[in-house]
């Protein structure tokens, strides 16, 4: 897969001395959905803003489709669509005219059929003649997407597309993103909702304190870093873990009714078989058993905590 966006050692220090980006290097593959995860103030929006030309970098380089974003800004920016985090729209403007404006601004000739297709795809066609101030929050966000798509970009940046959006709308947004991907658009979205990255991303990047902690294929990430837990539920509660099971580092939960064993899915021997044998040998009667995989959220929290530990 070729790289459509290449970010090299990107740095941004704000006037006050705050270092928002500390040398980020990142390649974005054509056609993928990359989720950038990070807590508030991690540098996600600064990264996007710099690539899109809203913020000036203090150092490093960015190429989009092989074009330098400074030297060849016209070619580079023509390929990019940006959906900002804040809903920013002219309140008295009509939906269709604001979308037409965006297309014109990017130097594309007027194309009513294309605008109609975009508005229909985003379920905005019926509202095309409404003033923007009349729309709901979810619709306004879709108008922002329509504006970003109006010039047929190949790369779409979505900055916190579902911040403050209810569950149903969030799922709609995920569907829209999946459809755009099917149309061949490369999508980079920032979020601090782990479930969002888990649900739609191909790859996940984690940013904390202006540094890219990792970029991994989402499934690999979860496999590699994912720990699994097995919970053994007992018929009779225990007051303490039996001596015979002391070597397993078990946890006693649920008022002594459950034993929890953590293991590494990558290990050759997980130790499950011997554990279960030893549980039987200790005379414990099993009532039920379940396994659970670590979520991306737990991985994320660990990574960010580690970054903050380093910083401190």
């Amino acid at each position: 897969m070729s790289d459509i966006v290449e970010i090299r050692d990107l740095r941004k220090t704000y006037a006050g001395g705050f270092e928002a980006l500390k040398g980020v290097t990142l390649n974005i593959h054509e056609g993928e959905i990359l989720a950038l995860l990070g807590p508030n103030g991690a540098g996600k929006t600064t990264l996007i803003s710099t690539v899109c030309g809203i913020t000036q970098a203090s150092g490093g380089s960015v190429h989009v489709g092989g074009f330098d974003i400074l030297e060849e800004f016209r070619a580079a920016r023509s390929m990019i669509g940006l959906v900002p985090q804040e809903i920013a729209l002219e309140p008295f403007e009509k939906v269709i005219s604001t979308v037409r404006f965006s297309r014109g601004l990017f130097g594309k000739p007027r194309d009513d059929a294309r605008i109609e297709a975009i508005l229909k795809k985003l379920s905005l066609w019926d509202k095309r003649d409404n003033q923007l101030k009349e729309l709901s929050g979810g619709m306004k966000r879709r108008v922002l997407i329509a504006k970003a798509l109006a010039h047929d970009p190949r790369v779409l940046f979505l900055d916190e597309p579902t911040a403050g959006v209810d569950v149903e709308l969030r799922r709609d947004m995920w569907e829209t993103v999946a459809e755009l991907k099917a149309d061949g658009v490369t999508i980079i979205l920032t979020t601090h909702y782990i479930e969002e990255a888990e649900a739609i991303a191909d790859r996940v990047g984690v940013i904390a304190k202006g540094e890219l902690m990792l970029v991994e294929d989402k499934d690999d990430l979860m496999r590699q870093m994912g720990k699994k837990q097995i919970e053994v539920q007992l018929s009779e509660p225990l007051t303490a873990i039996p001596e015979a099971l002391a070597s397993y580092a078990l946890e006693l939960r649920g008022d002594g009714c459950a034993l929890v064993y953590s293991y590494d899915t990558r290990a050759e021997r997980t130790g499950i078989t011997t554990l279960l044998n030893d549980v039987a040998a200790a005379g414990l009667v099993l009532r039920d058993m379940q396994t659970r995989q670590t979520s991306l959220e737990e991985i994320f929290v660990d990574l960010v905590a580690a970054a903050e530990g380093d910083a401190a």
Binding site: Y14, S49, C52, G53, I54, T55, Q56, F73, R74, A75, A76, R77, S78, I80, L82, P84, E86, A88, L89, E90, P91, F92, E93, S97, R100, F101, S102, R103, G104, L105, F106, G107, K108, P109, K147
Partner: protein
């Protein structure tokens, strides 16, 4: 040049003007009529002719300049300040357009609106006084250049302003006094000698004088100096805007 983008910005800005067309049209007609009632009829009847021109007719170029300058500034400053205020400027900054194209779109639209209002006042004035325009081409050139240069100044102001008060402060505290004291309603020769010298430091004097010359062939300062002044002012504004976009001052973080 990305002409499609320039036209997109221009049309978008003009749409704002057309949405409030009645207001844009009626307000200058009403204020001009009021000026004529007060200065032309009530006070003007007690003032002699100024260098052979009736006082009512004498103030027409000054009145047009007053409106054109304030309108060009307020339209252009609002045009660029509003996207900054509501956040839609992100689109402008991320679009494949350079500073010249952005300026052409916004300043072009603001200058068009000001020109329209200037012409409306000219037509309105025609109903009150006998107008003669000795140099129509020069009159149009002065009018267009004034619209453009003050729209450029307004654009700078809109980028500089951090809030609505600042947006209104410069037109109110600087431009209006300069225009009123720039010979809109009087000839400089009517002032005491000391003030005649002081007033030559007011750049607006040169614009109004040149504009009045295109009507009645009389000027407070040589016409060449007037042209130089407006040309220099336009270039200075362009240089400031070029610097703003080069450094990202008050626009890019």
């Amino acid at each position: 040049m990305n002409f499609t983008a320039i036209m997109a910005i221009y049309k978008f800005e003009m749409a704002r003007f057309f949405r409030t067309l009645m207001q844009s049209f009626l307000s200058p007609v009403l204020s001009t009529s009021l000026y004529f009632v007060v200065f032309g009829a009530a006070i003007g009847s007690r003032i002699d002719e100024v260098e052979g021109v009736s006082y009512g007719a004498f103030i027409v170029p000054g009145l047009i300049m007053l409106s054109v300058m304030t309108q060009a500034i307020s339209n252009a400053s609002f045009g660029i300040y509003f996207p900054k205020f509501i956040g839609t400027i992100y689109e402008l900054l991320s679009a494949p357009v350079n500073f010249l194209e952005i300026v052409c779109g916004y300043v072009g639209a603001a200058a068009t609106k000001a020109l329209f209002i200037g012409l409306v006042i000219l037509v309105t004035a025609h109903f009150f006084v006998d107008l003669e325009i000795q140099h129509p081409l020069a009159m149009l050139a002065f009018l267009v250049l004034t619209c453009l240069s003050f729209a450029l100044l307004g654009f700078i102001l809109g980028i500089w302003a951090g809030n609505f008060e600042q947006l209104q402060l410069v037109p109110l505290m600087i431009v209006t006094p300069l225009v009123f004291l720039g010979g809109s309603f009087y000839s400089i020769s009517m002032l005491p000698p000391v003030w005649q010298t002081v007033t030559l430091f007011n750049p607006v004097v040169y614009l109004i004088s040149g504009f009045r010359w295109s009507f009645y062939g009389m000027a407070d300062v040589p016409i060449g100096l007037s042209l130089l002044a407006i040309g220099g002012f336009t270039l200075a504004c362009l240089a400031v805007i070029w610097w703003i976009f080069r450094t990202g001052w008050r626009i890019r973080n």
